[in-house]
């Protein structure tokens, strides 16, 4: 239920104030303001609420207050604003309901959909959306039905899906013929939005990690810098463009901005603070910024063991981050300080978020005091392994035979149950663990599904690895063959064996009703035939 109140004789809103501790509400409210060319402010803490009253623009009396009905910083802020002589129209809502309500008020049929887990995607699209009258919807598989109903009723002239989104979101929105922007890399995606914004001599530079008034205004496009360094493709773009001036928001990016200046020779200004002119002397205070969710890549190496029984070096990688990462390692092995081997990955390996993966590198290692010097490149996408982990570790010696053996007998999709099944059989003589990973093409994009926990399967037993996912007929056509990777082994913590292959996708649906119907029809036909024969005999 959305609460709406308004002061009497309120004219058109002249500025927007957002009172919420949820970044999505702040984003949606600031985006609404930018969409309508209104100035906006947001409360950043309960202590900030009374201060904001003194610095709001008094020449803009009509305020549109967006107050969260769940997590406002200050309860009942409308009365505070009215006491400060502002005329207030208030909306009390949050989350999806607020997003939809403001989308309705925007009176547009153009929308951009981003996943609400990726704050930097929301920041990236904000200026283009404000300038070109697209309203941004923050969608996921839980709320997509609500957005679908809204879009269906509202009508859609243009729909863009930007960055990674849940499969269910993309499937649900297919009827609106969406355009997809997802180059697989946040910087590439952002560059695409900057190009679409159009030629501009001045640009905002940020890293997509916070909301700030100027970023949301739409007056200039937003270009992402890396937090510590500027990606090469960004430098190249700036060199080839008409950009003469960049404005960095916030102090943390000063070093990266300086690098951009050195590489491209554009002028760079740093917007670093604010002050409230009321007389006397004062400090320059920090800008009002609100952080958005960001996912850190976080790869570590848990252990390195040499298994003399299998003659392999087992390296256990730990993904402590909240998104999946690809990695590729180069491992130098030393015996009492002298290098005896160099091992590694030829292709990137995927480790799911908050998960571990043990990779076995075949090698016969002899020596004492074995140590390893590991260099692991990792990143969000295989072609952008931008982070580096370097670690020196002792190698533990173990002797752990592994007689496990599995095969994959088939891949099927149950349309009625929305389940993808990988049929796995333990063909070895010992109980063993298996963990399946599937790569699907969904509207042209690769998606990897991984089991959260390995299955323990007894010898000779078959079991299905089940993934609950919705595949449309289009997705089914995109995947005549499905790539499956099975990591398995006798030890749950070391699934060192790998089975990989491409398997035909078999479609199954619930045949019970059609079978019953066919049986009834057949029975009816047989009944009619028998009855006719009886009549003939009696005739």
């Amino acid at each position: 239920m959305i609460g709406l109140t308004a002061s009497s004789a309120l004219g058109a809103s002249q500025q927007v104030v957002v009172n919420s501790a949820d970044w999505q509400d702040i984003y949606t409210g600031m985006h609404y303001a930018g969409f309508n060319g209104l100035s906006s402010k947001f409360i950043i803490s309960s202590e900030h609420a009374p201060t904001l009253l003194t610095i709001l623009d008094q020449s803009r009396k009509n305020v549109f207050l967006i107050e969260s009905d769940k997590t406002p910083f200050a309860f009942g802020y409308k009365s505070s604003l009215e006491a400060a002589n502002f005329n207030v129209e208030e909306i009390r809502a949050s989350g999806t309901a607020l997003n939809i309500e403001l989308a309705k008020r925007a009176s547009t049929k153009k929308f951009i959909v981003v996943d609400d887990s990726y704050g930097y995607n929301a920041i990236s699209v904000a200026p283009y959306a404000a300038k070109n009258k697209y309203f941004v919807l923050l969608a996921n598989k839980q709320n997509i039905d609500e957005f679908y109903s809204f879009l269906k009723n509202n009508g859609v002239d243009s729909l863009i899906i930007y960055g990674y989104t849940d499969i269910e979101v993309r499937t649900k929105l297919t009827e609106f013929n969406p355009e997809t922007i997802n180059r697989g890399d946040r910087f590439e995606n952002n560059l695409e939005m900057v190009k679409r914004y159009g030629s501009s001599q001045q640009i905002i530079l940020t890293n997509g990690e916070f909301i700030e008034e100027e970023i949301m205004s739409g007056r200039e496009p937003v270009l992402f810098l890396g937090r510590e360094s500027v990606p090469d493709q960004v430098i190249e773009y700036v060199r080839d463009s008409d950009i003469k001036t960049g404005v960095v928001i916030g102090n943390e990016l000063a070093d990266a901005a300086h690098q951009l200046k050195e590489e491209t020779n554009i002028s760079i200004f740093l917007k670093f603070g604010q002050g409230f002119g009321s007389g006397g002397f004062a400090e320059v205070k920090a800008l009002d910024m609100f952080p958005v969710p960001k996912y850190e890549l976080n790869i570590d190496i848990g252990s390195i063991k040499y298994n003399s029984a299998t003659k392999s070096l087992e390296v256990t990688y730990e993904n402590k981050g909240k998104i999946g990462s690809y990695l590729r390692s180069s491992i130098e092995v030393f015996s009492s300080g002298s290098r005896i081997a160099t091992l590694g990955d030829r292709e990137p390996v995927f480790v799911n978020r908050e998960n571990t993966l043990t990779v076995a590198y075949a090698s016969e290692l002899n020596g004492e005091n074995l140590t390893a010097k590991v260099t692991t490149l990792f990143g969000e996408v295989p072609r952008s392994l931008e982070r580096v982990l370097r670690k020196d570790m002792n190698i533990e010696l173990i002797r752990a035979p592994d007689n496990s053996a599995f095969n994959i007998s088939g891949v099927s999709y149950d349309k009625d149950a929305h389940k993808l099944r990988i049929a796995v059989k333990n063909t070895g003589g010992v109980a063993a663990y298996a963990n399946a990973q599937v790569t699907l093409l969904i509207y042209g994009e690769e998606n990897i599904l991984t089991q959260n926990k390995p299955m323990l399967i007894e010898p000779g037993v078959s079991m299905d690895a089940v993934f609950i996912t919705t595949l449309s007929d289009t997705n089914i056509e995109e995947n005549p063959l499905v790539k499956v990777r099975l990591n398995y082994g006798e030890r749950e913590s070391a699934l060192v064996k790998v089975l990989e292959g491409n398997y035909p996708l078999e479609i199954r649906s619930n045949m019970l009703i059609p079978v019953i119907a066919a049986a009834l029809v057949a029975a009816a036909i047989i009944g009619i035939i028998v009855l006719r024969r009886k009549r003939k005999r009696s005739a």
Binding site: E220, K261, L270, G279, F281, K285
Partner: protein, 229 residues
């Protein structure tokens, strides 16, 4: 009798002058620095003199110090960054650097970002005094009397010549006024402090800049920028 009448009139006149002088003090004396670190000074204490019949008293009205309510001062330091030689995650060598050495600190009430490549000089400073945005008019501490000379600065690689300038009291810092030609109201005005590293400030400490900005009738937010060089 005649002399007493004249004396009474003179005393009355002097008393009237005293009352007017006391009433025109801009702010009461004594200040409290609260949260936010804003401070202001004390005005000089108005003097009193007791009048008594039958006496002629010499009373000199000397200059009184008043606290301005039309200006705000900002001061501080521009701390340095670093220049490094590194790969994606490891530093090979690092030099400390003042990324804004000898640049400027800018302040504007423009809620949008100024178009830095199209800034220009403010040559008719009196226009700012008459603008209703500040309404300083002919006050002693108006903008014309503060930014009362001219100078040149370089912004985004472009020299802005003969723009209004205000040397600060200690002459260690210079402030300027420029304008953003792309804006359409008085928020286009940009107040500029030239950075002069580690110079004595008004408190006898060390600062890199001092900046004087006018105060509006209603509180406005100033946004601060500096150019990375």
């Amino acid at each position: 009798m005649e002399r007493r009448k004249v004396l009474s009139v003179v005393i009355l006149l002097l008393a009237i002058l005293l009352i007017i002088d006391t009433a025109s003090a801009a702010t009461p004396g004594g200040a409290t620095v609260g949260a936010g670190g804003t401070s202001t000074g004390s005005a000089s204490t108005p003097q009193t003199n007791t009048s008594q019949g039958g006496y002629i008293t010499e009373l000199n009205i000397t200059d009184a110090t008043q606290i301005t309510s039309r200006w705000q001062g900002y001061y501080g330091n521009v701390t340095g960054g670093s220049i490094v030689l590194k790969d994606s995650s490891n530093t090979f060598y690092s030099w400390s650097a003042n990324l804004a050495n000898s640049g400027y600190v800018y302040a504007t009430t423009n809620t949008g970002t100024p178009a830095w490549s199209s800034v220009a000089a403010v040559t008719t400073i009196t226009d700012l005094d008459t603008a209703s945005y500040w309404n300083f008019l002919s006050k002693s501490d108006n903008i014309s009397n503060t930014y009362n000379t001219t100078g040149s600065i370089t912004v985004a690689g472009t020299t802005v010549s003969n723009t209004a300038k205000a040397p600060t009291l200690h002459s260690n810092f210079n402030d300027y006024v420029i304008q953003d030609n792309s804006a359409s109201d008085m928020s286009e005005i940009i107040w500029v402090a030239a950075i002069n590293n580690d110079k004595q400030n008004f408190k006898s400490g060390l600062s890199d800049y001092e900046l004087l900005v006018p105060v509006h009738a209603t509180t406005r937010t100033y946004y601060f920028y500096l150019e990375i060089i």
